[in-house]
Symmetry: C2
């Protein structure tokens, strides 16, 4: 039987996964920022051999890399044989962007016999299937804005930019760049009030071809709070492909503010 | 011989055009925001017949609409016959966005026998042909970022978004939305310093298919000041298609700050 291993980074996701799959084996690297309340088996990035052995001993066959990780400091004196043999690749990977680094890490785990999957493949409750999740629902004109935002994200996907856009009344009020969704929503909140008539929408979706095993778009209660500050009417996410972290709190915050949250097929 | 008429809105552009073509006939509508130091013949939006007659009497054959205009208040009691006959179209146009309104206004002037042209067609000194205009020049890596920004703008053009993007080290730090270039640069200035290593570039260019007679991208000394605050190394503009308002002051500000300004063929 497949046993799940979770390599835990920052944020709520690793804990949410562990709670959804209590029998999963939870590991984290020292110094990359895991701070969840669930006990994690701690490992060092310069001792990958020990980690691989432990995962095999624990019967782990499927692995999920959950949550962003700070780049680890590597102590050359402590490198174990496996890590040492991987150093040329890891050094090249560390010179790439975070996505490039994580893609190489995925490949290393795959070569060691683990099947690396995305968090959305572990527990479907972390994403949403098509439909409105809140008391409020988008208006007809807001559905038009969601379609416009989807066409903007599709265009940006081709140049590898953006997992989110804000549209109101057909006007694009902002596109996510490398600073992330919260920065986008703060930008919208600072825009002239005549552009924000309370009908705007944030659409969040992965880029076309994005490797969801290394980077998956997510929303949470903080996203709802920022959307309220930006004067939006709601949030749309791509069905099945965007994580809802702390789903109960996210939906409660949206309902309290009268925002809609809808999962849409794009 | 063709005589130029200038319908003056806000900002430096109408005055710059008048100074470049002193024999041009300068008109403005009351209440739309012309505040230049050059004398303009004042007109009312509800008396378009008088304006058309004056333009014909003055021998005007080519017209440029220069500078953004605030939407005028129309006094129904004062509508002259021509304006009255145009009211159904003007009312429909006023319900559109500013670009849609201006496209209809262009068409009305064309029907009255005037050839409406873009400011870039009046005086080539208002735009720049290909080349570096400043003491500083872009580095090889910044030229790569200009190319990346160009591909982002080309993708956004297809969905009618954005006349500007900021890129540094291959990362997109921001895309212009309806709030304009200054808002984009303030957003970049507020981004985490580790994303801004002093090598970034702002690229500004019209959208593909944009009607430059009603809306033309421009930069000026204020753009340079915002770019400095954003920690950029320079500004690239599309050759021939982006207005440089107050060219001397713009180049002086860039040189003083050590920024480059380059006109590029896209």
């Amino acid at each position: 039987m497949a046993r799940l291993g979770i390599i835990a980074g920052q944020g709520r996701l690793p804990v949410a996964l562990k709670q959804a799959v209590p029998e999963a084996h939870l590991c984290a690297f020292e110094g990359v920022g895991y701070a969840g309340e669930e006990h994690a088996q701690m490992h060092r990035f310069d001792a990958l051999g020990r980690l691989m052995a432990e995962l095999h001993e624990e019967g782990v066959t499927e692995l999920v890399l959950a949550g962003a990780m700070r780049r680890p400091a590597l102590d050359a004196a402590r490198l174990d044989p496996l890590t040492l043999s991987l150093m040329p690749r890891l050094q090249a990977a560390l010179r790439k962007g975070d996505d490039g680094l994580l893609r190489d890490v995925v490949q290393i785990f795959e070569e060691q016999g683990f099947h690396v999957i995305g968090a959305h493949q572990v527990d479907t409750d972390l994403t949403a299937s098509e439909g409105v999740l809140t008391v409020a629902a988008p208006s007809a004109s807001t559905r038009g804005d969601i379609a416009r935002a989807a066409s903007i994200l599709a265009a940006l996907s081709r140049v590898d930019v953006g997992q989110a856009a804000v549209v109101e009344g057909g006007l694009c009020l902002g596109v996510e760049s490398v600073q992330g969704t919260d920065a986008l929503l703060r930008f919208v909140a600072a825009s002239p009030p005549e552009l924000r008539r309370g009908q705007g929408v944030l659409l969040k979706a992965p880029k076309a071809g994005q490797d969801l095993r290394v980077d998956m778009p997510s929303i949470g209660p903080g996203t709802v709070a920022r959307a309220v500050e930006a004067g939006l009417s709601g949030i749309a996410i791509e069905a099945g492909l965007v994580l809802i972290l702390d789903r109960a709190a996210t939906l409660a915050a949206a309902d309290e503010a009268g925002l809609f949250l809808e999962a849409v097929n794009l």
